[in-house]
Subunit: 131 residues, 2 copies
Amino acid sequence: MEVSTADVAPAMRLPVGLAGGVFPAGCPSRTVLDHITSKWGVLILLALSEGEQRWSELRRRAEGVSEKMLAQTLKTLERDGLVSRKAQPVIPPRVDYSLTERGYELSALLVPLVAWAFENADDIINGQRTD
Amino acid sequence: MEVSTADVAPAMRLPVGLAGGVFPAGCPSRTVLDHITSKWGVLILLALSEGEQRWSELRRRAEGVSEKMLAQTLKTLERDGLVSRKAQPVIPPRVDYSLTERGYELSALLVPLVAWAFENADDIINGQRTD
DNA sequence: GGCGGTACTAACTTCCATGCCAGTACCTTA
DNA sequence: TAAGGTACTGGCATGGAAGTTAGTACCGCC
């Protein structure tokens, strides 16, 4: 078998921490991973990967998200420096959300993952493995 | 800025579903995404991406996982056709887990994501964005 | 003989993410 | 005047994820 991590991203090989244990419990990586792999985190990053969007637009695109979770998730992602918030002091309020540079980096990795999930979802759910 | 979704996986662009709504709520993609982005799902897939491993080895590598969650997660991933289980009828019991072909496909996308999280974790947690 | 390791399953409990609802402040349209 | 849209915040409820504990069956080690 020659499928290995090396095929994927030569400059992105998993670091030292992996040799002998995936991650120390409670290390920053775990926290960050939790944020970006959270149910709504993924969807929102994904939606924003296609460009700046307003609050209400995000609500519609991340179908099923409640206002509370949208606010909470956006706040987390903003604190993590992945999303930037631009509020315009107009009435009615208008707030635009977009990805930061770091956010784009992330979404570049996230998008193929989600695409893969989308493409394989039916097979997987129907229990049709090829192997 | 040249980081865009197009740079990543030309054949993996996000499909039609995305234009106008990330995913329908309750569609298979959501379910699969939940499995593979689950707290322990990620860690286990990651650990297995480095090759076949036994139960007890996985316990140690995914630091902090309880036996219950390990069993549960492995069962889910096995049902999804991402992990294969080989039990040897020896005493004491010996069970080896490895990724299926589909599992490797996934891990190839997951590994760079996790690597990114690892590399950026400190910056993110300390709130030091560069932008 | 008793402890520990291997690979689990099952029951009970706890806790946090999420959901649901209500409220805010201002404007527009009917 | 009343309803509805915009962008939120906060409280309470709950369900599912996760943790805890115990039990199983067999063996090797000391």
